[in-house]
């Protein structure tokens, strides 16, 4: 048995697997960043024109 139930592995198959994991992680992170970028582009597109003026003029009557 090995330390704390951990199995030490080695060899080419292991390295290939590690590469794959690393690759998957960085591509996931890339996708998240791309997604946020796209989202922010979209918000720039749909955000009210003259946002500053609009938001300054947004006044509501009080309710309950």
């Amino acid at each position: 048995m090995s330390d704390g139930g951990q199995v030490r592995r080695g060899g080419r198959a292991e390295e290939a697997a590690e590469d794959q994991v690393e690759h998957a992680t960085s591509s996931d992170a890339r996708e998240v960043i791309d997604d946020v970028d796209e989202l922010l582009d979209e918000i720039d597109d749909v955000l009210e024109e003259n946002a500053e003026e609009f938001v300054r003029g947004y006044v509501q009557k009080g309710g309950q």
């Binding site: 300054r56 947004y58 009080g62 309950q64």
Partner: protein, 495 residues
């Protein structure tokens, strides 16, 4: 044994008309509500007979006896929809009050149906205004300039619960639930050092207990108007919550309250940790993004919003475990999601983005601010804050996030679209909605607990509906299928 559970949520939507000529918000709201009905249909008026908004749960002199009041005296638009909801003008806002629902999941569906109804109604109203006018509707609770407007939850509870005990047991919950009920806002009415806070409404609350809803707002509202048999029931009118767009937030807001009220009715809640100053704690909880701000306890020492929530979760998990051999799926989902949410929040409440509105909005504001290098007080950030609540599917930022899969969904678009026209099947809302759908021409007025029909006889006929569990599809579906007219329905019901 607990009373049957019913819940409804009323929301006053923000309204603004942008265009060549200014439109008064009362008129604009009236146009939005009126525009929604089908061409040729009259409004279904509201029956005020059993309304008593000034009756106080703490006692005091009996209110003036009110005569049946069929017309809305101010001539403001009011209608009752085939889905059992009330859609009307209240305090210069269009208000949508969901039909009575029997569980948190249904409430999410019928609350979201309201967003579609408002978006549709605003578009129709726009067609009646000068070219270039736009009617914009926001499901929010403040303009960020000193005005607040409400989202009120209504829960049917047993008259047998002493009001003082109920207050003691729910107030610490109201304070701490802001962690998932808050819809978030930039700035503060009270503290200029606050850049962003959890709740849209917290700053507008001034007292613990009271009858008012527009001034000196109380954490615990004492309005005693059950819209049901007053001998058996009271209605807990919860005015301290925010309007939510996240389905998880609405589901937990309502699901946890329903469960808490069951435990309180069953006298199964252990002594609650009481706060020394609930209003100050409410503000402090809203102004802190960690869930760990110290809140002084009545008996000395402190707790935190997360600590209080954990206390209620533990108590209600024990209550359900002891009570139910088999837990119903919705209660189980409420407990599981609530626990998961508190575990995440204990790590960092900001990780609740995608589940609760304040964290979803804050994440968006942070990314937008970073990209454009904006100061926290910049008007474009305020626009992002406001437009998060826009009900238009193509412009509302929450809706855009949902379309991108960045917000967790609990119900389907098909369920929500269906709920625009159809009532829940297992409450009295079913009978109200179905009668309006089938016999609209005969319905003179409707209320939460009545229908007034004109079937061509000497006097109008009033059908009382004082019991919210009566009028379901299972009870009255067969009868409604058999009758061909409102007159026949009335005869069959009163024979």
């Amino acid at each position: 044994m607990t009373s049957p559970r019913f819940v409804g949520v009323e929301t006053e939507y923000g309204i603004t008309v942008d265009g060549p000529s200014p439109v008064n918000p009362v008129l604009a709201s009236s146009m939005v509500v009126s525009a929604y009905r089908a061409a040729g249909d009259d409004d279904v008026r509201w029956d005020h007979t059993d309304e008593s908004p000034l009756r106080d749960a703490r006692g005091g002199p009996a209110p003036e006896p009110s005569e049946p009041l069929i017309d809305d005296e101010l001539g403001l638009a009011n209608t009752v929809l085939t889905n059992g909801a009330r859609f009307y003008v209240d305090h210069a806002h269009p208000e949508y009050a969901t039909p009575e629902c029997s569980n948190a999941r249904d409430l999410v569906i019928w609350d979201r149906a309201g967003e579609l109804i408002l978006a549709d109604a605003a578009q129709r109203a726009q067609a009646n205004l000068p070219a270039g006018s736009r009617v914009l509707i926001h499901k929010n609770n403040t303009d960020g300039k000193g005005a607040a407007y409400g989202t009120h939850e209504n829960y049917l509870v047993s008259r047998g619960i002493p009001f003082g005990r109920l207050t003691r047991q729910v107030v610490p919950f109201f304070v701490s639930r802001l962690l998932f009920v808050g819809s978030g806002r930039l700035g503060s009415e009270l503290d200029p050092s606050v850049t962003f806070q959890l709740s849209q409404r917290a700053d507008f609350f001034e007292v613990v207990l009271g009858l008012e809803t527009t001034l000196k707002r109380p954490l615990m509202n004492t309005r005693d108007e059950p819209h049901a048999d007053p001998e058996r029931y009271r209605r807990l009118h919860v005015i301290n919550g925010d309007a939510n767009l996240c389905e998880v937030a609405t589901f937990l807001k309502v699901g946890t309250m329903l469960l808490l009220l069951e435990a309180i009715e069953d006298a199964a809640l252990p002594p609650v940790p009481e706060l020394a100053d609930p209003v100050a704690a409410f503000h402090a909880t809203s102004h802190d993004l960690t869930g760990r701000v110290p809140l002084a306890l009545e008996e000395g020492g402190t707790t935190t919003p997360l600590g209080l929530q954990r206390w209620y979760l533990d108590a209600l998990q024990r209550y359900v475990k002891e009570r139910d051999a088999a837990v119903d799926p919705i209660t189980e989902e409420v407990l599981d999601r609530w626990e998961a949410l508190l575990v995440t929040a204990a790590d960092d409440p900001r990780l609740l983005a995608g589940q609760v509105d304040w964290a979803t909005k804050l994440e968006l504001l942070e990314s937008y601010r970073t990209r454009h290098e904006l100061d926290w007080t910049h008007d474009r950030l305020k626009m992002v804050d406001l437009q998060y609540h826009d009900v238009r599917p193509d412009k509302g930022l929450h809706r855009r996030l949902a379309a991108r899969g960045r917000v967790e969904r609990l119900v389907t678009d098909a369920e929500v679209a269906d709920a625009v026209h159809r009532p829940p099947t297992d409450t009295r809302a079913w009978f109200r909605g179905e009668c309006i759908r089938r016999f609209r021409g005969n319905i003179v007025a409707a209320g939460w607990d009545s229908l007034i029909l004109d079937v061509g006889r000497d006097s109008l006929q009033r059908l009382p509906m004082l019991e919210p569990s009566r009028g379901t599809k299972a009870q009255l579906g067969p009868l409604l299928e058999e009758v061909d007219s409102a007159a026949e329905l009335l005869d069959r019901l009163t024979s």
